[in-house]
């Protein structure tokens, strides 16, 4: 069985002492930052990007994946204990998780969430293993025009799920694409939008943009909100009662399936998974009135769905090189910095990296259960540190991190500039995620577009003549039309209102 050979290769890479240590370190650091209120996984990964740059590619991706899981887990912890979600995906966890905490069942909520996430993560990893090969083989048939169309679909689908105005989100994608073009043009060597700054000739570095846009802007918004502390936090027993276990097992199973399915969709991912799972549980429950008052299913299902989706959203990124959400865009950015072009070639040319990363995903999930539950006391202590100490400290680490990228203070200035831009975005209600996706895909998309047009001798019909490209473009158009339908528009508005 080739499948088991691949997995064996993956585990042999992931189980090396060095890589295990990086996975552990990633999980710990991710939880450490993710547990700080108001800081979600995207901001966490953005801030921690610099520390992974100097590692070898495999180790750096393993560590980043660890950071991601740690940050999501840390986010659930803050949602349950202090009702402060760090990201949209854990908003649902707040609803019932915090109510459970108020009833003194915080410990049980935390352990159910951890075990559910672990189970979902395991299933998600298995799904990746099964789907990676066939999808990769399919992707190898893609020509430049098909790739261009696929990216268009990925971008539009991601936009549809960004809350707020679709037109604004699409405009943000274009803005991101434009920022992605800064630097030397690969085909002609012309300098574009570099303003004669030698630092910009390789393009705007991805890390300072992410750090400024998500890290700094998020700190500033938190400073404005005057986060107040809730008094004492009691965790209570970590063991769920028999009743709680009985009710959460099926919820975890359903959440896992739903999350895994939704995570594969371009534009899908943890948020969609968590929200749908919560709605599903509420519909299936015999007493839906309990939801919002501390129903254990309301924690178990979304947490499982959240993690399953987080896991399966790696599939389009690893096989096709198309990031489906902001976190995956960050991963693509990190891979490019490591000199790896995400796409179908990764699996065939760098099998150790590909399967090693997948194996370490499972290890990362296991580590979270093992290290985080016993250490919950420590994370709780961290939650009680006032923000006026944390904010300057986080800023400082961001600055040093940005400097360390290339030992240049130019990067620190860039972080400051993109912090301002990120703040403007958040004030104007423009989502950062579509911008980031455009930024990451910009250079590639231009490449493919120009190559496709060159091959077809300047005939734009090539996008409609190739069956794959045509199919993808029709799907894209359908999605856009669907969004414009009044009934869907209304439903979408309501869905996001629940979230906000």
């Amino acid at each position: 069985m080739e499948l088991f050979d691949n997995l064996a290769l993956g585990f042999s890479v992931a189980f090396s002492f060095q890589n295990l240590m990086y996975a552990l370190l990633g999980c710990m650091l991710g939880t450490l930052i993710g547990v700080l209120p108001g800081i979600g996984p995207v901001a966490t990964i953005a801030m921690l990007l610099p520390i992974t740059f100097h590692l070898p590619p495999v180790a750096s991706l393993i560590m980043l994946a660890g950071i991601y899981y740690g940050a999501s887990y840390g986010g659930s912890t803050t949602s349950i204990l202090v009702n402060l979600p760090g990201e949209a995906a854990s908003v649902v966890t707040c609803l019932d998780g915090y109510q459970m905490a108020r009833k003194g069942r915080a410990g049980a909520a935390l352990s159910i969430s951890a075990v559910g996430s672990f189970f979902a993560g395991t299933v998600g990893t298995l799904i990746i293993v099964m789907f990676a090969e066939p999808l990769t083989r399919m992707a190898q048939k893609f020509g430049p025009a098909d790739y261009c169309a696929l990216m268009a679909l990925g971008l539009v689908a991601a936009v549809v799920l960004a809350s707020g105005s679709v037109v604004k989100a699409i405009a943000m994608v274009f803005l991101g694409l434009l920022f992605g073009l800064v630097g030397t043009d690969v085909n002609t060597g012309a300098q574009r939008f570099t303003f004669d700054l030698p630092e910009l000739s390789d393009g705007i570095d991805f890390a300072p943009i992410a750090m400024g846009l998500f890290g700094i802007a998020e700190i500033v918004v938190n400073l404005e909100r005057h986060l107040t502390r809730t008094g004492s936090i009691k965790v209570g027993s970590l063991w769920p009662t028999r009743e709680e276990t009985r009710r959460s097992v099926p919820a975890i199973l359903r959440g896992t399936m739903l999350g895994a399915a939704l995570g594969v969709l371009p534009g899908g991912g943890p948020t969609l998974g968590a929200f749908s799972a919560y709605t599903l549980e509420k519909k299936l429950s015999k007493n839906p009135g309990e939801f919002g008052k501390g129903a254990v299913e309301g924690v178990a299902a979304p947490e499982a769905a959240n993690n399953a989706a987080a896991q399966t959203s790696f599939i389009p990124m690893l096989t096709l090189g198309i990031p489906s959400n902001a976190v995956m865009a960050l991963m693509v950015g990190a891979m490019i910095i490591q000199g790896i072009q995400p796409g179908p070639e990764v699996m065939t040319k760098k099998p150790d990296l590909f399967w090693g990363m997948i194996a370490s995903m499972w290890i990362g999930n296991a580590m979270l259960v093992v290290i985080n539950l016993p250490m919950i006391g420590m994370w709780v202590k961290l939650l009680t540190v006032p923000y006026r100490f944390l904010a300057p400290a986080i800023l400082l680490f961001c600055c040093i991190g940005a400097y360390s990228l290339q030992n240049s203070t130019f990067h620190v200035i860039q972080v400051a500039c993109f912090g301002v831009l990120g703040y403007i975005f958040s004030r104007l209600g423009c989502e950062g995620a579509p911008f980031l996706l455009g930024l990451v895909l910009g250079p590639q998309m231009e490449e493919y577009f120009r190559r496709a047009m060159l091959l077809s001798r300047g005939d734009a019909m090539v996008f409609l003549e190739r069956p794959i490209s045509l199919g993808l473009l029709i799907t894209t158009a359908l999605l856009l039309v669907l969004m414009a339908l009044p009934s869907i528009k209304k439903a979408r508005k309501e869905a996001f209102q629940e979230e906000g």
Partner: protein, 149 residues
């Protein structure tokens, strides 16, 4: 007047503004032909589409109205930005310690509470942690205080 200070209208203006910037600074880039595109083709195409979308957003915002933009609080964003820029300017010229002191002081002012004792304690702890982690632990080539260490 309120109509013009809505989130959507202003973001539409922002997109148009960025588009104009891209067109202005991209005017020297060769367009090329559709077969052999020059470096200027794709940027100009993107900028024009984005400006079109920006215009659409503006018009819709004026006709249908949109959420008014919240009055920004200038203090946090200004102070945080100044703090980071000061850090960048001081870091190589004077060393980590002065840059750290200035950044922490300015960033602490950005918050709602400022207690001198706490801020000084924060500085001392962070200075020790950063020196240990980045200079000793990770062996980064950082000057702690120019001319001293």
């Amino acid at each position: 007047m309120n109509r013009f200070l809505s989130k959507d209208f202003l973001s539409g203006l922002m997109f148009i503004g960025f588009g104009l910037v891209a067109l202005y600074f991209g005017q020297k880039l060769a367009l090329g032909t559709t077969v052999r595109m020059g470096p200027g083709y794709v940027p100009r195409m993107l900028a024009l589409i984005m400006m079109g979308l920006g215009l659409l957003i503006c018009v819709v915002a004026l006709v249908a109205g949109s959420e008014p933009v919240e009055k920004p609080k200038w203090k946090p964003i200004t102070l945080v930005t100044i703090g980071v820029i000061c850090f960048a300017l001081l870091f190589e010229r004077a060393g980590l310690l002065p840059a750290l002191i200035v950044l922490i002081a300015i960033a602490s002012f950005a918050g709602s509470e400022f207690k001198l004792k706490e801020v000084i304690a924060n500085m001392v702890v962070l200075a020790i942690v950063c020196t240990l982690v980045f200079k000793v632990g990770l062996g980064m080539n950082i000057t702690i205080l120019r001319g001293v260490w």
